[in-house]
């Protein structure tokens, strides 16, 4: 990505020895605030961890467009349909930007797509839950995107150049998603009794998945210390969860909506939010495949890929003259 950075996905990386000198020079570059570019030497673990992270992020964008996409035809009113279509198109575009960034580390987009569909790679757990009503779609657009922005803003200050550049564009585009989602939630929350009940029910349903969103507390380990030092991981899961709560719980309460956690309050001594730990067993169960929508999400992605093959073949046919539209 970005300037002769493309790496042939069939190329095998020579496992150049990770000498203390190379590692120290690498660390010094990161400490000085410089970005690592695809052509640079990097430790194998840095490469591997970034591929995993960026790939999962890309999959989350593409799968995340499904629970919302399902509401396009039923979105109330033309303006909301247009906005939701634009948002879903953005999400798929973000997936493309991220696949391109991950490719610079040596895994092809087609291999990543295959690993998504066969279940070898993961995506954000939150998209394994259904958007039952229009209010769910509103809560997703506001709060799931808010959570994503907290995460992405942190990561955009990371050390890998292509990932940071993709994230900057993504954050810029997602600011509209957040406003659009907030607008929809406010419309329902300031509306009729029925509308308020709908948005309250959706808020209650999504609270646990939102608390799961940033993952369980990080276990202290040499591994995670190294990733922090290399600026692969930019903030702890708990720190990002706290930042999200700080920014959005007051806005939720402000609308007279409640959250299903009696312990939820800002601790004046620590300055942090007190909350009930969400059920992490449920989190593990869902991420390992046993959630309400896992099978559907992958089946739909597989169908799209299977049914779209003829398009790929058609545009790839050099003989064909009338298959190249220029919109």
């Amino acid at each position: 990505m970005y300037g002769n950075a493309y790496i042939d996905p069939n190329e095998k990386f020579s496992s150049e020895e990770e000498t203390p000198e190379l590692l120290a020079a690498f660390q010094a570059r990161i400490d000085a605030g410089e970005k690592i570019e695809p052509q640079d030497w990097m430790p194998a673990m840095y490469r591997k961890q970034l591929i995993r992270m960026i790939e999962q992020h890309a999959h989350s964008e593409i799968i995340g467009s499904l629970p919302e996409g399902t509401w396009i035809t039923r979105a109330p009113g033309f303006r909301r349909k247009l906005a939701l279509m634009a948002k879903v198109q953005d999400e798929v575009g973000h997936a493309q930007l991220l696949y391109s960034a991950a490719e610079t580390l040596g895994k092809s987009r087609e291999d990543m797509m295959n690993d998504l569909i066969t279940g070898k790679s993961k995506y954000s757990n939150i998209f394994n839950y259904p958007a039952l009503t229009w209010a769910d779609s509103a809560v997703i657009a506001w709060l799931v995107d808010a959570g994503a922005i907290v995460n992405q803003l942190a990561n955009s200050k990371g050390s890998y150049g292509p990932y940071c550049r993709a994230l900057e564009r993504i954050c810029y585009e997602e600011s509209f998603h957040l406003k659009y989602g907030h607008d929809n939630v406010v419309h329902l929350a300031t509306g009729t009794k029925k509308q308020r009940e709908m948005v309250q029910a959706a808020m209650t349903r999504w609270w646990t998945p939102l608390m799961h969103f940033f993952g369980p507390s990080d276990k202290a380990s040499v591994h995670s210390d190294t990733l922090m030092r290399w600026k692969v991981k930019m903030a702890s899961n708990d720190a990002m969860r706290q930042q999200f709560m700080d920014m959005y719980i007051p806005k939720i309460w402000d609308l007279g909506l409640t959250l299903p956690d009696p312990l939820l309050k800002k601790n004046t001594e620590t300055g942090l939010w007190d909350y009930t730990e969400p059920d992490w067993e449920e989190f593990k169960r869902v991420i390992n495949g046993d959630g309400p929508c896992n099978a559907e999400r992958l089946a739909v992605r597989r169908m799209a890929e299977e049914n779209g093959k003829w398009v790929a073949r058609a545009i790839n046919n050099e003989e064909a003259e009338h298959v190249r539209p220029f919109a």
């Binding site: 990505m1 970005y2 300037g3 002769n4 950075a5 493309y6 996905p9 570019e37 052509q39 640079d40 399902t70 035809t73 634009a86 198109q89 953005d90 575009g93 493309q96 930007l97 391109s100 490719e103 092809s108 987009r109 087609e110 797509m113 295959n114 569909i117 066969t118 279940g119 259904p130 958007a131 039952l132 550049r165 993709a166 564009r169 585009e173 896992n294 099978a295 559907e296 992958l298 089946a299 739909v300 597989r302 169908m303 890929e305 299977e306 093959k309 790929a312 073949r313 545009i315 790839n316 050099e318 190249r324 539209p325 220029f326 919109a327």
Partner: protein, 134 residues
């Protein structure tokens, strides 16, 4: 479509319901086409520089232009887009970035190092006489 679990997925989305999909298929995808990448350069208005904004995957330059329009001209004001196959871009090595080091002896390229006003002033103050007659 080969599947292990033949039970149709019950979806909230009527379109997915009508497709009668079943889950539990973990087979590898076959025949995924690998497209080359194109670098995309975006110009926001006539007269401005084209700026590199990212890449797209495409089988040919016409499709690359189409994807570039979708990916990089969704919001921004756009006058023109270029695409070029990534494989056609030649680049320097970051490892050799010392070739760009501007050394102190290149001060003669710096306009601020040319100071004449004080000399003109002195010349006028001594009555504009030649330097060897002063």
């Amino acid at each position: 479509m080969a599947t292990e679990d033949q039970t149709a997925i019950e979806s909230l989305d009527p379109r997915i319901g009508r497709a009668h999909l079943s889950g539990g298929n973990h087979e590898d995808m076959t025949g995924l086409l690998h497209f080359q990448t194109y670098e995309v350069f975006h110009q926001n208005k006539r007269g401005a520089q084209h700026k590199h904004v990212g890449i797209v995957h495409a089988p040919n330059s016409d499709m690359a232009l189409l994807y570039a329009k979708e990916q990089f001209a969704r919001r921004e004001q756009t006058a023109n887009i270029w695409v070029a196959p990534s494989s056609c871009i030649a680049a320097t090595e970051y490892a050799d970035d010392d070739i760009f080091t501007t050394t102190p002896e290149k001060l003669y390229r710096n306009p601020a190092t040319y100071k004449v006003m004080d000399r003109i002033q002195a010349f006028k103050e001594r009555g504009m006489t030649p330097s060897d007659e002063a």
